[in-house]
């Protein structure tokens, strides 16, 4: 559903879409992951669609795929701060694992 919504802002690792009631921030690194539940993400304290990723040991970890920020509480600037923080985190990981130089 959210795929057809207008895109407000894009980063390398995030995309922010505009729905009638929410600003939807998607984590692009979780693309293709099956949504298994929608519940409150305790870190950002908004509803999020979540999937499960299994680590090297097979243990499953719940991860947010997209967050739903209610428009009556969040504007694009607020969401952008969170999106850029996520972008920074992933860029740092990339720099650690695949440095450019």
């Amino acid at each position: 559903m959210s795929q057809e919504l207008p895109v407000l802002k894009k980063g390398i690792y995030y995309i922010i879409k505009d729905s009638k009631t929410d600003l939807i921030m998607e984590d692009k690194t979780k693309r293709g992951l099956t949504v298994k539940e929608k519940s409150i993400d305790e870190k950002l304290n908004v509803e999020a669609e979540k999937g499960m990723i299994h680590d090297m040991d097979g243990i499953g970890h719940w991860v947010p795929i997209r967050w739903f920020f209610p428009k009556n509480q969040y504007d694009i600037e607020k969401v952008l701060v969170l999106a850029e923080a996520m972008e920074k985190k992933y860029k740092e990981i990339r720099e650690l694992t695949c440095p450019d130089d």
Binding site: I53, G58, G60
Partner: protein, 281 residues
């Protein structure tokens, strides 16, 4: 018509009425024990964790004979103990452990049809109490290499028309569209596709979607034989890490009674990473 070896299966009702005792051990086999066994398991069941207990901690390989014997001792299993396996992920890893038990010659072995999925659908009881299991003595047989295919067996099979390869992964993995689903980011390979000449018969086509139990003999025959996977062939099953393929190995060997079926546990994470291996898309 019944399965070729119906004694290798028990149903959930049977397990609920026949608990673990000195001569029978119920063992849960999990890929993800945090979200499986530790949240609740069948009363008296011990845990075999695929990653910790079945794999060598350093080398990519299944446990050796000595490690297998220690695992049996820890789980209170003697050479004549009846062992009932069940687990998460549609019994994939229970089937893998069944294969390993057979590899080391344990005879009295069964799978609970439907695994955790069916047990939970029936709202049967779980406990979080872990059983206190006295250690046993166990001496296993030598490994039965007739059950296992290695990279060189598969390479050799490429030119043989008496050997048939069964790729039990999803169609998207088979065509190379993906190398692993997003849920398993640690299980990718450098190349996508399949071993040349392999038939794509996903593991899930052998089970009833509703409760994870195995399909009937007639349905299973219809699943494999029209694709040339017949009892007169040497059959090699593979998937990504060898667990879904052991599920299909179990179906072909024990439910349909094919005489020569091997599991290639190196599977796509070996084949698709090796330099120079031929790949078909």
């Amino acid at each position: 018509m019944s399965y070729a070896q119906p004694e290798v299966l028990v149903d959930t009702d049977w397990v609920s009425q026949n608990p673990s005792n000195d001569n029978r051990k119920i063992v849960e086999v999990d890929y993800d024990p945090e979200n499986g066994y530790k949240k609740g398991h069948i009363n008296g069941a011990s845990l075999i964790w695929w990653k910790r207990d079945i794999n060598d901690p350093i080398t990519r390989d299944i446990i050796n004979k000595k490690q297998f014997e220690e695992l049996m001792q820890k789980n209170g299993i003697k050479s004549n103990t009846e062992v009932i396996l069940y687990g998460d992920f549609n019994n994939w890893f229970a089937a893998f452990v069944f294969w390993v038990f057979k590899y080391y010659g344990h005879e009295n072995l069964k799978i609970m049809n439907g695994g955790r999925k069916k047990w939970e659908l029936e709202n049967k009881e779980y406990t979080t109490d872990e059983p206190n299991i006295p250690s046993t003595q166990y001496v296993s047989g030598p490994p039965d290499e007739g059950l296992r295919a290695y990279l060189y067996d598969v390479r050799r099979a490429l030119d043989r028309n008496d050997t048939v390869m069964v790729d039990v992964r999803s169609p998207k993995e088979f065509t190379g569209e993906i190398t692993a689903p997003p849920e398993y980011p640690m299980e990718h390979a450098q190349r996508g596709g399949h071993i040349p000449g392999a038939n794509n018969i996903p593991w899930a086509t052998a089970v009833n979607d509703a409760d994870g139990t195995f399909k009937t003999v007639e349905e299973l025959k219809q699943n494999y034989q029209p694709k040339g996977v017949t009892p007169d062939k040497d059959v090699i099953c593979y998937c990504r890490i060898g667990e879904r393929s052991s599920h299909s190995w179990f179906v072909l060997k024990y439910l349909l009674g094919y005489p020569k079926v091997r599991n290639y546990d190196g599977s796509w994470t070996e084949w698709g990473n090796m330099i120079g291996n031929p790949v078909e898309k």
